[in-house]
């Protein structure tokens, strides 16, 4: 079996806000390889560095040490090939823009300066809207949509520039269960053609639907399977250091013995 094409690789990355020596790193020694057909769920406690890692992958910040490569190049150079779905877009409820207008901004990096998007951009935008199932309300105002529909629009916007990888930050926040299932179907379909990195705090969700789970709490531990293991649960509660880095117990709020159950709402 030949290994699928490497789309994204992170090696030896350390990252911190502030000066070395004064502040602790937010990310330490991160290694991660994402291949063509991957579907990774990235979980971890608040403040564990999930958002920072996403920013690194997007090229919004640079690592202090180590390298991040997307398709063999620096993320900044290939940013239009990276689709990104933010947790909450800043788009105002009252913004004078239709769904199509918002998805069109996903083509911005491919267009020259000017007043309008050329005709050649309309077809890819229609395709992206179809893939994300928002074509039906292309001409509705963005503020008129429900949370789940809005999330789909953000997915369409991310897909609009013919991306090779999709990064989603808590895509199911504020989305009801019914919509969630639909979005998942969409993601599974998209996963046939591109790898997906999905950040989530919902452990049962992640374990049911992704192919691999990566736990991030300053350090990254990748689990090759997606079932809810003891390690995964411990990671969610901020304790994976206990298992993997003996001696780094300082930031573990619970002892390994007492983590046994996930939160009630995580059970189905």
């Amino acid at each position: 079996m030949t290994a699928a094409e490497v789309i994204l690789s992170v090696s030896g990355v350390t990252c911190r806000y502030g000066t070395p020596g004064e502040t602790a790193p937010v990310l330490e020694d991160i290694d991660l390889v994402i291949r063509q057909n991957d579907f990774i769920g990235l979980i971890g406690p608040n403040g564990g560095g999930k958002t920072t890692l996403l920013k690194l992958l997007l090229g919004l910040i640079r690592p202090e040490r180590g390298t991040v490569e997307v398709l063999g190049r620096a993320p900044r150079e290939v940013s239009r090939l990276i689709g990104y779905v933010p947790q909450t877009a800043q788009i105002d409820q009252h913004a004078p823009a239709t769904v199509r207008d918002v998805v069109l901004t996903g083509r911005l990096g491919l267009t020259p300066r000017g007043f309008r998007y050329g005709r050649e951009h309309l077809a890819p935008v229609d395709r992206a809207m179809e893939e994300a199932d928002v074509r039906a309300f292309a001409d509705r105002r963005i503020g008129e949509l429900s949370g789940g529909q809005r999330q789909r629009v953000l997915i369409a916007r991310a897909l609009a520039s013919d991306v090779r990888i999709l990064l989603l930050d808590e895509p199911m926040a504020g989305v009801d269960l019914h919509m969630e299932a639909g979005i998942l179907d969409t993601l599974r379909r998209l996963n046939e053609t591109m790898p997906i990195v999905l950040v989530s705090h919902d452990i049962s969700f992640v374990s049911e639907h992704v192919k691999r789970v990566a736990c991030l709490n300053r350090r990254l531990v990748v689990h090759e399977a997606a079932e809810i293991s003891r390690d995964v649960i411990a990671c969610m509660y901020g304790g994976h250091d206990v298992f993997h880095q003996v001696g780094h117990t300082g930031d573990c709020p619970i002892s390994p013995e007492s983590e046994a159950e996930p939160e009630p709402e995580a059970e189905s």
Binding site: L60, R80, V102, R141
Partner: protein
């Protein structure tokens, strides 16, 4: 109203006032929707008040260095101050870790204070600065109209060139950055456009009230439309009507035309807002 049009034949300032009003109306009709979408109404107010400092500086310099600087018009000072203010605010917004509302308040008050201070030490100009603060649409000269027209042309050219980026910035700044847009520069370009619109409006409504024309007509237009271009169109029509009709309507009465313009803008906004709410019920 009828007397306004019959007097136009005798008083050329009435005609230049109407033309100046129309042109500046188009300028703020184009820029207002960006201001509303990016939610920078108060930043616009701050820029307008920094411009007071620029006007004060020109009046002061003209007095100090007369007659060498007689060619310098207060509107030139306003233009320079407005552009400087835009660049300053744009840089400060991204490089200083301070809450934006605090900065707006500080710039707003400082600009105003500098203007008042400079005018106080410049004998004989107190009334002139008032015409910039509150506007004086009845003294818009042919030279003013030329300046407003030039500002409008610059605004239209920049919008034609930058619209996609500015709109993307207004919609979602973070995403625009990811698309490779130079957010810092685009934001400064937008603020400069706002500054040009502010200067174009000074003669018509005055610096204190420009905030009304850059926000209310566009906000009313938003109630009636769903996309930016139609919103801009409605906003241009509303602005052009608002900078001309109310002043003609109150012509000859004791009501200040500038107040009539702003109060009409507020009424238009209230009506459109109310109509929208009623439709939802």
């Amino acid at each position: 109203m009828i007397r306004f049009f019959s007097d136009m034949a005798i008083n050329p300032l009435l005609l230049t006032g109407v033309i100046g009003g129309l042109l500046s109306g188009v300028a703020c009709g184009v820029i207002g929707p960006y201001v509303i979408t990016r939610r920078i109404v108060f930043l616009t107010g701050a820029i307008a008040h920094i411009v007071v400092g620029g006007v004060g500086a020109v009046l002061f310099l003209r007095y100090q260095f007369a007659p060498a600087l007689d060619w310098l018009e207060p509107l030139h000072g306003a233009l320079i101050a407005a552009i400087l203010a835009a660049v300053l605010v744009g840089l400060v917004q991204y490089h200083v870790k301070e809450r934006l509302d605090t900065l707006i308040g500080a710039l707003w008050a400082t600009g105003m204070a500098v203007g008042i201070m400079l005018v106080k030490v410049t004998p004989g100009y107190q009334t002139e600065i008032f015409s910039y603060l509150f506007g004086n649409v009845s003294v818009v000269s042919a030279a003013d109209v030329k300046l407003i027209a030039a500002l409008l042309v610059v605004i239209l050219i920049v919008v034609a060139f930058w619209h996609k980026r500015i709109f993307a910035l207004c919609l979602d700044e973070e995403y625009a950055r990811l698309q490779g847009v130079n957010v810092l520069l685009t934001n400064i370009v937008l603020l400069c456009l706002v500054s040009l619109a502010v200067v174009a409006l000074i003669r018509v409504v005055g610096l204190i009230l420009v905030i009304a024309l850059l926000s209310l007509p566009a906000a009313a237009a938003r109630q009636m439309t769903r996309r930016l271009f139609p919103m801009m169109g409605v906003s241009i029509i509303l602005c052009a009507l608002l900078t001309t009709i109310p002043r003609a309507a109150v012509y000859g009465s004791r009501i200040a035309p500038e107040s009539a313009i702003v109060l009409s803008a507020a009424a238009v906004y209230l009506v459109s807002f109310g109509a929208r709410q009623l439709k939802r019920l």
